[in-house]
Amino acid sequence: MISIKKLSFSYPKKPRLCEEMDLELGEGKIIGLLGMNGAGKSTLMRLMAGLLKPVSGEVKFHEVSTFDRAVSFLNQMIFVPEKVSVPEFLKVNEYVSIYKDFYTGFDSDRFEKLLSEFQIIGNQRISNLSFGQQKKLQIAIGLSTGAKLLLFDEPTNSLDIPSKSTFRRVLSGSLQEDQTMVISTHQVKDIENLVDQIIVLDEGKVKLHADLEALENQFVFSQGPQAPEQAIFVESHLLGAQYIARQPEGERISGGSPDLELLFNAVIAGKLTGEFLSTQNQVTHE
């Protein structure tokens, strides 16, 4: 669905954020995009949304360059930025009418249902909504457009704890098979048990691109009083140690689904990098 080839990008008079990056995102996935502050997560989201132009290389959606901002692309893509700006003088229904006009696949029933889940009243003024509620409104709109590519930049920022829970529940039940959602966040816990693919950016490069299921087949993510000798990454823990170790040959130990925070730290430490997708089987580690 999204094809990124030899992408290089930098802001004017700033150092390169990414250099010759290659990435392919398929359909039907919820993808978590992780990285340290300044790693380029939001920038990559904006490049995928067509808001930024690559310095070199290409970012394409079904063979169409995203920066061309063709109608056929924009109609299939929704981008919810970290800082949402909703015209406060409008009513909710008036604001939503904009998206109903332009997105031919807008699902009004689904939108009403999401409003209800997020506890937002449709005919009230947006100025009566808190910032968190405005964010939920934008998320509800995003999920109702029928877009094939949904880009959410830090969606859980400004959401209270119950809303984060609602967000996870709504997302896990919402995605169609031909949709792809990319969630950029540094709040790893908010997307645990939600995403099925992870991309970790660091120093302008994709350090890890992996299906969680495939990782689970290759590695054990566990904790105990001591880490095994062959563990490739260890972090101290209240009860001893959290560790990542390779699955033994001929055996499969179930350590539970990958701990995303542990995984992220392992990648940033350079202990676990590579591409590990269900169609491929390449992983490197030190």
Partner: protein, 273 residues
């Protein structure tokens, strides 16, 4: 889906009025109120009866001249308001519509407002102001009582002339100045009302002075400005004579009028947020 769509242009126009309705309401009602108040006061204190000089008591031209300048700055010069902040620019650029459709919708809204709606507002204000002045105020101010109703001619920027070159020159200004101000909004944002008029003045003066400056750079510097404005330099085209500089400016203004919109289109297409 990637072809020009009238339906999307209309949706963009609806979007423009929905998101900026406060601005448009303030503009229309504010213009009506201000013009009415000003003209009421102005008409009430007219003492000189122009009919004795064979003229009409049509005292609206001066006010309308400044009104037109205000329309250019505050209507045409406020194009693409959604591109002025990062967050609204994100929303606007990602609306599923072609850049050309977005350009057309802005052009239609701004120029319909500027050349149809706002002159109508002025005319209605003038009619109301005259009525208020004659009915209620002149008895106290002692102004003249035979004030004419506003003429349609007042609202038309091109006045009668025997010289066709006059029409062509005025038309070039009518086409160029709004187009430059329209495009300037994408570059200067809210400072457009200052920067583009400044640019037009500087550009015109620089062009007019250029032969004098270049001549003094490359020649012996004996030529004065008057030499270049001498009528012996007048070029005769189809029986009309005018200084060469006028023809130079004509070419520049007509070219500029077209190029402005092309620049606006590409600026929109290549905009990054």
């Amino acid at each position: 889906m990637n072809n020009l769509s009238l339906s999307r242009i209309l949706k963009l126009i609806k979007f423009e009025f929905l998101l900026h309705k406060k601005y448009y309401l303030l503009l229309i009602f504010g213009a009506f109120l201000l013009v009415t108040l000003y003209l009421t006061q102005y008409l009430s204190y007219q003492r000189i009866d122009m009919t004795q000089y064979g003229e009409k008591n049509n005292f609206y031209n001066g006010a309308y001249f400044f009104y037109v300048i205000a329309i250019l700055l505050f209507v045409v010069g406020q194009s693409f308001m959604d591109l002025r902040s990062k967050v609204s620019a994100e929303r606007y650029l990602l609306l599923p519509a072609l850049p050309l459709e977005k350009l057309f919708s802005q052009f239609i809204v701004k120029f319909t407002l500027a050349f149809l709606v706002m002159p109508t507002i002025f005319a209605l204000s003038a009619i109301l102001a005259r009525w208020i002045a004659l009915e209620f105020l002149i008895q106290w101010t002692g102004g003249i009582t035979n004030i004419d109703i506003i003429d349609f001619d007042v609202l038309i920027p091109i006045k009668q002339s025997a010289d066709w070159l006059y029409y062509i020159f005025i038309l070039s200004l009518i086409l160029f100045i709004p187009s430059a101000i329209f495009t300037g909004s994408q570059y200067f944002g809210k400072w457009n009302i200052v920067m583009v008029p400044l640019f037009i003045i500087v550009f015109s003066v620089a062009t007019a002075l250029s032969p004098f400056i270049i001549s003094n750079l490359f020649n012996d510097g004996n030529k004065t400005l008057g030499y270049f404005l001498d009528s012996s330099w007048n070029i005769k085209v189809f029986g009309n004579e005018a200084p060469l500089m006028i023809y130079v400016l004509l070419v520049l203004f007509y070219t500029g009028a077209v190029l402005s919109y092309i620049i606006s289109y590409y600026k929109l297409k290549e905009r990054e947020v």
